[in-house]
Structures are given as C-alpha cells and as structure tokens.
Amino acid sequence: MFEGIMTGLATAFTFTNIMMVIGGCLIGTFIGMLPGLGPMSIIAIMIPVAITIGDPSTALILLAGVYYGAVFGGSTSSILINAPGVASTVATSFDGYPLARSGQAGKALTVAAISSFAGGSIGAILLMIFAPMLASVALLFHSSEYFALMVVGLSAIAAFAGTGQVAKALLMTFLGLIMATVGEGVLFNMPRFTMGIMDLQSGFGFITLAMAMFALPEAIYLVLDPSRSKTGDGEDGGKITNLRINRQEAKSIAPVIGRQSLQGFFIGVLPGAGATIASFLGYAVERNIAPKEEQEQFGKGAIKGIAAPESANNAACTGSFVPLLTLGIPGSGTTAILLGALIALNVSPGPRLMVDEPQIFWAVIISMYLGNLVLLILNLPLIPYIAKVLAVPRNFLIPFILFFTLMGAYIGQNNATELLILVGFGICATILRFADYPLAPLLIGFILGPLLENNFSRAMQLYDGMGFIWSRPMTLGLLIFAVVLVVLPSYRARRARARAEGVADGD
C-alpha cells in the first residue's frame, strides 16, 4: 500500500495535475451552484474536455475535482438561497438556510466546508484500506461472477429505489440495457436494432443520454416552474461575513463528523444507496441521538444539522468510488458517468486496474485529498465572490444551461443529429419524471449494458450454454441474492400493507 501511495503522490503532484484539481474544483463549485446543473450534468459536460487531455490519470483527476466542487457548490446554494442544486444537499438546507437567514451564512458555510473536508478525507482513507482488499477478492472472479455481480448491482439500485418504485426502477434498468444493444457492438460485428438509420450505427452516445436524462429535464422544470430557480434577487450575495467558528462549536461538531463520515462511507459503497440517502440518514440519526435541548434546535439552524449531512454526503461520494474502481460497477448515476468516461479513455475499471495501472487508482485517491484541501483553503474564502453567480437573472441563466447541455452532447460526437436525439430523449425523460420514474437506473443500465452482455457471452461460451449458472456456486449465490434484493422490499411492503388492513395475522 505504501508503494501505491508513493506512486499516487508522484503522479498527482505534477504541476498539470495540481492545476487540474484546482481548476476542476473551481469549475465544479461555480457550476454546481447554479440551479439545474447537478454533478452528473457537469461531469458529462466536462468529459469531452477530459478526453482531449488524453492521459487517463489527469482526466480522472480533473473529473473527480469537478465532482467534489459540484457537491460543494450544491451545498453552498442550499445554504445561501435554500435552492439545493442536488438531491444530496437537500438535508443541508434544513439547518443551513435558517442559519444563513439569521445572518450567520459565513458560519454555516464554514461548518459545511469543514464537514465536507473531514467526510471526504476520512472517506479517502477508508477507500485506501478497503478498495485493495475488495479488489484482491474480485481478482478471483470469472466472467460468470462478473455477470452475476453486475446483476446484483443493478437489482440493488432498483431495490433502494423506495417503496412502490421497484418495478419502475427495474423497468428503467431494462430500458437502459435495451438501449445499449442498439448499434454495432464490439461483440458481434453486426449492427443491431438500427432500423437502417446510419446515425444509430455506433449506438446512442452516453453523454447525450446523460444530458437528456438529467440536465435537460431539470432545465425544463426550471422553465415550467419559476419558483424553482431562486436566483436574481441578488440580495444574499453580499451578506457573507465572518467565516470563523469558535472552539466550542468545533468541539460539538467533531463527534458528529466522525460518526457520519463512517456511516456515510459505508452507505456510499452500497450500489444504489449513495449520497442522498447517506445525507438524510445522517441528519436523522444525529437529530435522534442529540440531547433533548439540542433536538429542538434542529431545523432552526443547528450547526450539527449542517455537519451531519455534509460529512455523510461527502464520505458517501468517496465510498461510491469503491465499487467503481474495484469491480467496475457504478452504484450511482455520477459514478456511471465516470465509468463511461473511463471506458472512453480506454481504461477498463475492475480489479485488474489496481494491478495493471496502479498509478491511475492511487492518483485518484491522492487527488481526493488534494481536492478536499483545495475546497477548504481556496474555495471557501472565495465563496462570497463565487456566490455572485447566484445573482445572474434567470432569463440569461436558462438559455445558457440549455446551451451547455447542447454543447456537451455536440462536442463529443460532432454530429448535429445527436442534438435532435438529445432533445427527443430529453422530452421523454421529462415525461418520465412527471410520472415519478427514476432516471438514474436507465443510465446505469445503459452504461453497464455492453459489459453485462460481454461477460454473459464469455460465460456462455466457456460453458457452452447456461451451465455456468449452476456449475459455479458463487455465480448462483450472487444471482439468488439479486432476486432476493428485488423481491424482499415488495414482499415486505405487501405484508406491511396487509397488516395495516388487518388481514394478515401470521407472525
């Protein structure tokens, strides 16, 4: 491990890479603050840039920096104007915004920044410990286990979708997998489901799809409902003074940060759970275990109420890198986009990554520390200035968001048809969102599709048929686990409902 850290340090501490971290964090914070552009959209926009860079380590360092910056920017806007740019910072606004309203915006931002820093750093240490362990286990896996593992990952994402949503999430996953089969895959050398359209020969672009699934619906929502974009009043920007917190406050949030960093990390490792659940759960847990008189303060501007979700969500972001880097399985929409970027850069994430290209793995980890440090010492003091972007009037902001969405899809492919596909899918995605269909599973399915089919085919070829399912116990075990994951929540919901109606009296 020590050797790995040295490799990572040597790779990360070049002038270019440090500039990438700083630049990425700044860009991320800047854009992450805007309503309608979450980390996923920002990373998708930055991918063409990262691919132009060429060197996978540098590109990944840039993207990771952008990711942290965006999460940080999201919490800033939820504190300052109660407009969380991302779902994972909604919990931050519960206490952050009241504190900012009472004139202590500076303190709220500092607590958020310190908690994010601690959560991210503790997460990075845990990642450093657990990822190599997991990867060494994963090296024993064959293609059939990989196939089964991806099935588990996809079912877990659906299982965590919430009650009443499992079937929808599964359908979206299947739709993503189906969309991934369009075009000429590497496997068979023949075009499939292109309907004779030349532009579909190479399949749908994943950046286009990411933009269509997340950035465009969010922008359309902003247009539809002006109350969603609370920008343009410009009165909050100037009030950020006094970024200091005192010793007593630091003492009171320290244990919260410690607990929530650990909890957040492990939630983040689970596929499908991610930063949003970690932050809400972190907030709820800390409120419940706080002394009575402090409990009253939650929701009215308690600094613990900022520290808990912030450290949890940053630790979870780091945790979500564990399955990505060790198994090549993304647990969230954001890591799915990062996986897409890695594939575009000719890096195949998985347990071999740590053996074949350790510099990439360790450079990313070291860049996480650097990124967190940059956010704390560089971005925090700059926040009063960066926050001015929140004063940009909506009439100018929305055309720009739409334009960046278009650019993101266009630059990667240089094909105007891609833009029409983007708008078409964007409209579909908006309608899906109207009806409460979760969109992240679709994108994850789409990105995992080729990998899933690849491993499935390889296993089929090795065992000359479906025999691999029952002749490899680990595969069978994983597949059964996947079925249990999907069936269990709906079974429990059914039983709970039945019990509520007074029908079931079994147990």
Binding site: L171, I178, F193, N414, F434, Y437, A493
Partner: protein
Amino acid sequence: MALDRWIAFVILLVCMAYGYAAYFTMDSVLPPIMQRSPIWPSSFPKVLAVGAILFSLAIVLGLEKAPEKKDAADINLSRLGDYNVGQALMLLGLMVAYALLLRPLGFLAATFLFLFLGSFILGERRFVLMAVVAAIAAGCVWYLVDAVLGIFLSPLPGFMNSVASGG
C-alpha cells in the same frame, strides 16, 4: 388511468416491437458459422425483451402499489396550465432549430441567435444587453472549444467556410 401506467403501456409496446425484432428477424440473417456459437447476437436482447415486457406489464396492471405522496417540490400535473408550458415548448423548438441550423449557419451565428432568442422567449427585453451577452458568450465558447481544446467547430456559415478554406 394514471400517467405512469400510460407510460408503462407505451414502453410495453416498444418492448414488444423490440422483442419481435429479436425473436423473429435477427436469427435468419446469421451466417451459418455463427449459428454454432452458444451465444447469438439475439440471445441477450431476447432475455431483455422478456424482462422489460414483464415489468411494464406489472406497472400497467398496477401490481405494485405506490404509496400516496405528493412532493411539494415536484410538478403537479393537475395544474399543468399554471406552468410556463408555452415557454418550455418554444425553448425546445429553439433547441431543435439550433440542431438543424448549426451546420448551415455556423457555430457563431447559430449560438448567438440561440442565446438571444432564448432569453427573449423567457421574457427579457433589454435587447442591447442580450446581444452583448450572446455575442461575448458565443465568441468565448468557440475560442475555448476550438483553440484551447482543439475540437473543430466550424465558426462561419457553410458557404463562407468553403470560401475561407479555398482562399
């Protein structure tokens, strides 16, 4: 029938077409040598079609009861008329126009028009400011993408480009 079930119904139709293509149209064109392989290009799509049809049916038939909840932050479809639907549709139309005109008009002109008309649709009427912002943004983005990133974006209208490169 609620919107989500209608959507599931549409998806069901799409998946049935997909399944039909996978089961009945793909295998006959397969060269004989590939037919000896245990996995065919249609194998995986066949599995997917079955799964997707089952899950969309489950939603159409309402097998999984969704809990009653209304998120205040979300769009309430029953009052769709209160939202700026017209603006949203016009902006989407503008995006389509941008896609179609990007090549013929060139990046600079198309982007300028997009940003200018975009804020116009949203109700902005400070024309000078709009023009200045759109012009600066179009120029900066073109410079960043083309010169800094090295990704070619044809800046001028189609006919002028050929003149420029010819001369």
